[in-house]
Amino acid sequence: MSPDARSARPSHLPDPEWKKGSAELLVLSLLEAQPRHGYDISKLIQLRSGGALKFHVTSLYPLLHRLEKQGWIVGRWVEKAEQRRRRYYGLTPRGRQALRAKHQSWKDFVALISRVTGVQHG
């Protein structure tokens, strides 16, 4: 990227890796309210998007483990009577910060696209 292009960009430009970031944003958002296990997460993404977004397990679990390694989420095993043990993931304080930043960055990005394309939210 040339220095000119860099200086011409507004400072609040979204994360250029927004594609990859969007997966992280989805997962982090779902964990904001409460801890969930992997199956729950994939189910919710599918449900809330009306089936349009589907997270394949091959990428979901590596993503969860990567976020955990980054310290944004933390996984713990939960065992309850009469239930199989399952692994719940919850947001860490750093994860919350990351989520806020990603939220903002996403909003900026959407706003920018809207400004450029003239498409407004309904």
Partner: protein
Amino acid sequence: MSRDPRVRDEIKFHRDRLIEDYMAGGMSRTEAERRAFLDFGNPLQIEESVGDVHGRWLEDFGRDLRYAVRALGQHRGFAAVAVLSLALGIGANAAIFSLVNAVMLRPLPVPQPNRLVQITRVSSVGRPGALSYGLFEYFRDHVSSISGAFAESGGDQAIVIDGAEDFVTADLVSGGYYTVLGIEPAAGRLLGPDDDALSPSSPAAVISDRYWERRFNRSPSAIGSAVTIRDRVFTIVGVTPRSFQSARTGHAPDIALPLLTMMSEGQRTEITNNWLSVMGRLRPGATVEQADAEVQVLWTSFLKTQAAQAPEKNRPGILRQRASAFLSPDGINPFRYDYAQSLLILMGIVGLVLMLACVNLSGLLFARAAARQREVSIRLAIGAGRGRLVRQLLTESLLLAVIGGTLGLLPAGWFSGRLMALFVNGRSFTVSTAPDWRVLAFTAVVALLVCVVAGLAPALHAVRFNVNPALKEARVQGRWWLGKSLVVAQLAISMTLVLGATLFLRTLVNLHSVERGFDSDGVLTISVRSSRPYEAARGFAVQRAIVERLKRLPGIQSVSAAQVLPLGGGLWDRVVQVEGYTFRPEESESVGFNVIAPDYFKTVGTPLLVGREFDDRDTGTSPRVAIVNESFARHFFGATPAVGRRVTSVGVTYEVVGVVRDAKYQNLRQPVMKTLYISWLQRDGDQPTRYSYLARVAMDNPMGLAPSLERAIGDVDSSLHIRAALTYATLVERSIATETIMATLGSVFGALALIVAAIGLFGLLAFQVSRRTNELGVRMALGATRGAMIGLVLRDVSAMVAAGVLIGAGLALTLSGLARNMLFGLTPTDPAAFVTAAFMLGLVALVAGWLPARRASRVDPLIALRHE
């Protein structure tokens, strides 16, 4: 494969929930499981991807390694052949690289060696040349981009400590030596500018750590000890650190002395007496380009002054001289210039050997891949990832490469030490070829390269196997083509190596058979040293007494002496005027010049053509006489007789009394110089130690005399000792040591390459014949003759040999130009060498192909047809 069980639990939980949900939606259990399986894919791969997030590759690698060890353990024959050929290839590379490292790459063990520059004259062939003391001062004081400079020269000295005499290697260093290099003393202090004076009140000396140990047993009292050198008393003021030898590569002095104190009047004042090496350190921020630019300006102005004082005709020659400043982190290193080319060519040769080893390993791995086809197919069928399998197969070749490399490194250290000794060849040269981090890193990189180059293609090939057996036939065709290419590659590399060996061998043969003009057989050469210089008359008497004493030894036929011996490294130059001859304007007035004793030509075996040798009639009071060689006589006197003519040099006129056959003095390659010999009887003031003494001995081994020499010399004068006694044959061998090394190593590697190629060819053909037994049987049944069957196989052989020869010759043509000036009596494109190499390759291929061909011709049609 065992994975993290918790990850497996987590994924299993996900899958089971999915199945439950499908069943809740009304599917049967079987249907739900099928759908879940389709959604899910291979759970192992998910586990692997999660493992990768956690850096599981290391664990995988450990598992692959264990697997590779087991697999190789099960195929010991394969492993042994592979490891052996790699050990050879990698070891040879490590050995030669150790030499390259020791001679060309290793910097001086001083702070910031990359800021050191050398300032030198530059010869017409680009070699650095020495500077006079005057020029050293001139550059030291005027080049502003260096913060300091020093001058240095090495040599032997006789020293006396506590009345005991010792011969040591000395370094004469100017005052800035240790400061510019940045050396700190191990004990006491080092020499500084104050010590470097013409006649200091208390002359100081510094000893090396090695000498401190050898002579003083590391006693602190060494500092303050007195050392007598040439009747002058020096005080030892300090010890240099163990890590530091000298600014000169390979030079390990015992003692360092102040330069100015040790110099003769002539060495100090004559501006053209070039004998010093000069180095400097760049000022912070300054570049070597700036230093060089300054040197150019200063040099040009110096040359102009010199030219203005010289006769008109000498001026262009003076102005043509060059000087330069260049980065020299490895210090003063003449070996870089002496051996760079040989070492790089050797590096090329062992590089080819390594390529051969790689091709060999590739062939073995391809064969193994074929044998493993079932195993790989099953693994693929049950869902192993191809990348994962390739990684596993590569681990196996990595293991082979690492074992081969480690095994190769062990003899490499020994081999490089031996090779260094061969190159150094009797001269004093102390340099460690022990593997350091550079050698280890080089070997590791080579091993890795081998792993990838030799292992990648077979690994990729192995996982390409399709589970579908319908592709089987095409695959076998593919392998046949592949096997052929590998054999052609081996033949091509062998061709290049054999051709190189032929060129170097022929060079050696040519050097041995070139007309030398002397006879080295049965001649002993002796050099002497003395603890103190003689005054002129005594020196003259001593040198004659040495000859007389040697004559009385048993079995001696004749004894003589000369300042320079044939192949001893080159005659001196003298400007002459020849009566009746006018030099052309651009013609050099220099001729070769030597001082010899009576009976010299008889002893050294150079035939006297006309006139007489010097004898005792020629004295300091008789008319001055000279002997010239054929080239001299032919050039200056043409067809007219030389005897009786007059030659003047340095103000003395000599009458020619004899003409001798031309002899090679510089080395066997250089053409003979026009040479003027004068008698030592008509020249006094020389030290006896400046002569080499020769004895022609009537015994099979002239070295049999060696034990009695020290006493004989001691009889003449108690301060005289033998410096070296060698047969002349040894000197001749030493003069062509590099050529001998190149020819020997070239031949060894060439022969090795031929053997490897022959085995490769044999294996391929044997496999091919056994595979085609059926077809061959049909041919036999249909009436093919034995000759036709042999021809069938040998046609393949000749096709491969032809391809190998052509590719190898092409490769050799592009490479051999590099060796052009190392060859003698032939060019790199010598057709005879190409034909010889091709012939040898063909012969070896024929031998390798004969057995399979014979087997093909003996196929019994009945058995063959049942074979399938």
